[in-house]
Subunit: 164 residues, 2 copies
DNA sequence: GTTGTCTTGTCAATATTTCAACTATCCCGA
DNA sequence: TCGGGATAGTTGAAATATTGACAAGACAAC
């Protein structure tokens, strides 16, 4: 059994395994660093992402489900995150006129001020710990690689859905 | 204040932002896919990583702190994870002879059987959702990129610490 | 219009993770 | 050999995340 199943398995080559592990570890370290820098603003990375996405939407508002897709989180998780952000006064829940089931999340003025304060620091962190460590070619390759991964896993996903 | 801070900030270029977001999203989708495939074996990705690292150590055992570094998790987290794995009979806690403070985690026979059953499926998942979607060059670039990130964030980290 | 089905979002229960003590051991110098 | 400071690992409570069940509106078929 323990050896029998190994037949026919395409294990990773040494290089592939090295790459995979470098990625897993690098990603974790990077996340830790980004969280650390956001800590000064009293928010986590997922929370920042939510606020940031919201701040780019028309009218600073978006449906819960749209938000969930944008930040790649479950709806339930977005509900919880929104509740926390609402408790801090950064976000407000509003009914949607067009669909009685829906709920829109809207950035409050305080929320906007907070994202705008956090954004420069966060961007600097992304630069210092990621973008600026890489060449333009490397950045482009990372883009392509993960866009492919996403396209494979979520066939319907649009490549540029940060805009709407 | 809200505009004042924007001066002097090196925002991301459009391409950089696209890359960053593609990476964030792709990573999350990838994690979801890997977790889904591991689910059949009753373990999560962090748990698999722990078992997998353990299975590569001499004597199927390693100190808690070594393990924590290998999988890039806090010690406390490793303690909790180990407790769960121990409850399933996959792992056993042992005192270390050389250092009275230390605790070694050892894979049980049942634990080894379980990793060996999960490994082919997991590897296939990593292939299908990541490695095989990329060219060899892309894989190499991802390796370099995240190794650089890790080297920046954890200057002391060894590149090949999956072996010992 | 009534029925059945799908979608939205929430909720409560459960599981996991984090954080800040805390214990025990080791190491080193006076 | 004592003491202080480091290191190893654990603990429990609080914060966060996931899951599955649910309520309610939409929507299509008839």
């Amino acid at each position: 059994m323990s050896t029998g199943e190994s037949e026919g398995v395409r294990w990773l080559s040494h290089g592939e395994q090295q790459a995979w592990r470098a990625y897993l570890r690098g990603h974790r370290e990077l996340e830790v660093a980004l969280e650390r820098d956001l800590d000064a603003f009293g928010m986590s990375l997922p929370e920042y992402e939510l606020l940031s996405m919201l701040s780019e939407q028309d009218g600073d508002r978006a449906r819960m489900s749209v938000l969930a897709d944008l930040v790649v989180q479950s709806r339930s998780r977005v509900t919880h995150t929104a509740k926390r952000l609402e408790a801090r006064g950064w976000v407000r829940r509003e009914p949607t006129p067009e669909d009685g089931r829906g709920v829109a999340l809207a950035l409050t003025p305080a929320g906007r001020r907070t994202v705008e304060a956090a954004a420069p620091v966060h961007v600097q962190s992304v630069r210092a710990n990621f973008v600026d460590l890489l060449t333009a070619d490397q950045v482009a390759t990372v883009h392509d690689a993960f866009a492919q991964v996403r396209a494979h896993l979520v066939p319907g996903a649009r490549a540029d859905d940060e805009i709407h």
